[in-house]
């Protein structure tokens, strides 16, 4: 850890329980999906004998063998019914931990998440130039990480419903009977797999560093997707001068929560590099940046920077904007403030700024 700190100031992002349950989940879920697909292949359709099924276009089409695990039906069932406990207990440990330790707050939906998610989509589609300001996760990530545990619960319940359709008949009836419970079980698995594949793609395409943070727990905020203004497969290097300014910046303060402060992470206390003054600034909106006269002239510079393909990046947080003013050339500093203005519920400011810049 000391060596890492010498290179970049990093923060502890994931508790070891979160990291351990994550990797156990990777193994358990992979084996559950593989063995489940092998079980499905024993009867790769949903219809009852003598009936048809409305809602599956690929009735009778088996899953390719290489995607399955367990070798044969009984082997796959034995794996499935053993791994289910690992999956369920591991999930329960994770959920209990984030509940007791407060990490659930990073995932719980908040007002503005829908708009923030829309801003992320706009950014990824090149409609928006700068990475929206975010907390630990961006709004899209957050929604997925929030949905996954619920999907897990659904997977367990639908699984129980088709495991014990007679002894747990009320549960099976709740899902519409055995055939439908089996269908929901399959669809929940499909959703989990698609979200999981998207997650893995985004890790490598937009934030490879998060892989490190899920192993060692440490995360270098100066190389976050927001700091690098990174889109999938398009990661830009920040200018060194910005790295210095940003390295000082405190994230997680009022991040995405509109100045309320997240409370349990990113406190100045556990960041030796942050000046004491940061604590006073934390969570307060930046006084000067809201003023159009202040930001308008600089936006042209920002567009130039973007057009040249260089990274600018965004700093978004009020604190960081303030620090960028100290460390970075004026143009960058002000452009950061424009972005800060956007995150302070005033997207029009950025838009009007663009108009002014033209």
């Amino acid at each position: 850890m000391a060596a890492t700190l010498a290179e970049h100031p990093t923060e502890k992002r994931h508790h070891w329980i979160v990291r351990a349950t994550h990797w156990v989940n990777v193994v358990a879920l992979t084996l559950m999906v593989g063995s489940g697909l092998r079980i499905f292949n024993a009867y790769p359709m949903f219809a009852r004998k003598g009936e048809t099924f409305c809602c599956w276009p690929w009735e009778g089409h088996a899953i390719p063998k290489w995607l399955t695990f367990g070798g044969w039906l009984a082997g796959a069932r034995n794996w499935h019914f053993a791994m289910m406990w690992v999956l369920a207990v591991n999930g329960a440990v994770y959920l209990a931990f984030i509940w007791l330790h407060g990490e659930w707050r990073d995932l719980a939906p908040r007002r503005g998440d829908v708009r923030d998610a829309w801003e992320m989509i706009k950014f990824y589609l090149f409609v928006r130039k700068t990475h929206p300001h975010q907390g630990k996760h961006n709004a899209l990530q957050k929604s997925v990480y929030f949905a996954l545990p619920w999907l897990g619960v659904l997977a367990v319940l639908t699984g129980l419903a088709i495991w014990k359709p007679v002894q747990l008949a009320p549960l099976t009836a709740l899902f519409g009977g055995y055939v439908w419970a089996r269908y929901w079980h399959f669809l929940v698995m499909l959703t989990l797999v698609l979200l999981g594949l998207g997650h893995v793609f985004m890790v490598f395409a937009v934030d490879p560093q998060s892989l490190r943070s899920m192993v060692t727990g440490h995360y270098d905020e100066s190389r976050s997707p927001e700091a690098l203004n990174a889109r999938p497969l398009l990661r830009f290097r920040p200018r060194p001068v910005m790295t210095i300014g940003r390295g000082q910046g405190d994230r997680g303060q009022g991040t995405g929560e509109r100045g309320q402060g997240t409370g349990d992470r990113g406190q100045p206390a556990d960041r030796p590099s942050a000046p004491a003054a940061m604590a006073a600034d934390a969570g307060k909106p930046p006084p000067p940046s809201d003023h159009p006269a202040f930001s308008a002239p600089a936006v042209g510079t920002q567009r130039d920077v973007d057009a040249s393909g260089d990274a600018d990046s965004s700093a978004g947080d009020a604190d960081r904007a303030a620090h960028a003013t100290v460390a970075a050339p004026p143009s960058v500093a002000v452009d950061a403030e424009v972005d800060a203005g956007e995150t302070e519920d005033a997207p029009e400011l950025g838009d009007s700024g663009k108009e002014a810049g033209r």
Binding site: Y43, P165, V179
Partner: protein, 235 residues
């Protein structure tokens, strides 16, 4: 730093290779004892969940019995040939005070139950079907099964096919020795002259072509159970 990265990359590659190799495989043999242990733990959970009052009813009327698949382990549907084996009779024995030998006529005279229930196959399909027969619990009472009989073995003339059950599932009110299906005597495709049928166990536990019902203090495995399918196989 680079060393660690390389190490992690190698680890990831190794894991990927293991997974690729594991695909479509039964997994490492060394895990089999763990899987067997987990199966016994699951059996414990299933026994706790088991209720004699949990009943199954087939919801759909229209498809009753229309497409109930048939299966047996012999090369052709096993047929009881009286010329070779003598008259068919069901033996009820083992841990009982009064062993029984019941002809089909004897069975037909006993109190019978007709039920339209689901057949749950281990493969994942279900079929609605109607069976008529005598409750195994009735046979147990008539034969006077002793308290040490914790298991029942259902044996057949289908090439040695048999499956043993826990006594609780065998005495479930919906567990029948069935001799009629859809109001007609069983055909050789469906286990004539008599078979076990119950919605509380997966299809493979329901022995067809029945010859013997043996109450036992110990479990006795079964045709598919011995090959690796769950011995309990409850629904």
């Amino acid at each position: 730093m680079m060393d660690r990265r390389r190490f992690l990359a190698l680890g990831g590659l190794g894991a990927a290779a293991l997974i690729a190799e594991a695909c479509d495989s039964r997994g490492p043999k060394s895990v089999l004892p763990v899987l067997r242990w987990a199966e016994r733990r699951n059996e414990g959970v299933e026994r706790v969940l088991f209720r004699h009052t949990s009943m199954d009813h087939a919801a759909s009327e229209r498809s009753v019995g229309r497409k109930m698949p048939s299966y047996y382990i012999s090369h052709a549907p096993p047929v009881w040939d009286p010329a070779v084996r003598g008259a068919w009779a069901l033996e009820v024995g083992g841990a009982v005070r009064k062993p029984l030998r019941l002809t089909l006529e004897d069975l037909a005279k006993l109190p019978r139950v007709t039920q339209r229930i689901n057949h749950y196959c281990v493969e994942g399909w279900t079929a609605a079907t109607q069976f008529t027969g005598v409750r195994v619990s009735t046979l147990a009472r008539l034969a006077g099964a002793t308290p040490d009989a914790g298991y029942v073995d259902f044996q057949s003339f289908d090439d040695g096919y048999h499956e043993s059950w826990d006594i609780d599932s065998a005495l479930h009110p919906q567990t029948l020795v069935a001799f009629m299906r859809e109001g007609r005597p069983l055909s050789s495709w469906y286990g004539a002259p008599a078979r076990v049928h119950s919605p509380v166990k997966l299809g493979y536990k329901n022995t067809k072509y029945l010859t013997k019902v043996v109450f036992m203090p110990q479990r006795n495995g079964g045709y598919w159970s011995d090959k690796g399918y769950e011995w309990y196989g409850g629904t």
